[in-house]
Symmetry: C2
Subunit: 106 residues, 2 copies
């Protein structure tokens, strides 16, 4: 839901592997588990983290549960990175000509 939970969720390699597979199309838990080197419960646990972070949604389909990427969930992280980018550039520019004369541009 926030950028911190997104960072936490995306930091794990297994969760990124799940995300990478969902980037093509929605998949069931079993399909994901069959294609990853971890057990099905591990996949379910990771999906729970991704869901709490707002990065995936799920729907029932008979006995299966289909998970899909949720684009909206990326917006907080994107906003954080963009703001940090802007501040980094501003701080860099300000370091020339603030209280201390740090030297010329370049």
């Amino acid at each position: 839901m926030t950028y911190t939970s997104a960072l936490h969720a995306l930091q794990d390699p297994t969760r990124r592997a799940i995300i990478d597979r969902l980037r093509r199309r929605p998949l069931s838990v079993g399909e994901l588990a069959g294609d990853l080197p971890v057990s099905q419960p591990a996949v379910s646990q990771h999906l729970g983290v991704l869901r709490d972070a707002g990065l995936v949604t799920s729907r029932r389909e008979g006995r299966r549960r289909i998970y899909a990427l949720r684009a909206e969930g990326l917006l907080p992280l994107r906003a954080y990175v963009d703001a940090m980018w802007a501040d980094a550039l501003a701080a860099y520019a300000a370091s020339f000509g603030a209280d201390g004369n740090q030297g010329g541009r370049g």
Copy 2:
């Protein structure tokens, strides 16, 4: 240097606290440590992680070492998030009218 190291670096709350302070202006290790609830060695360790991830740069200034944000270091993460965003939207759109008729919009 890559988006994975950026994700790893930004996942930690203390490292984000460091980043947040550097968003205003470059700071020395001592200035950072004095404003954070962890020891100076902990700050140095975190700065090493941030440096390895390409998110900060440093320069000597007498006996002190000044750390500053490095905007370029955010580009890989930004590209990853953007690509994921695009794929998420595409996968969502494709889920209407692919092999299975998944139902209407909503």
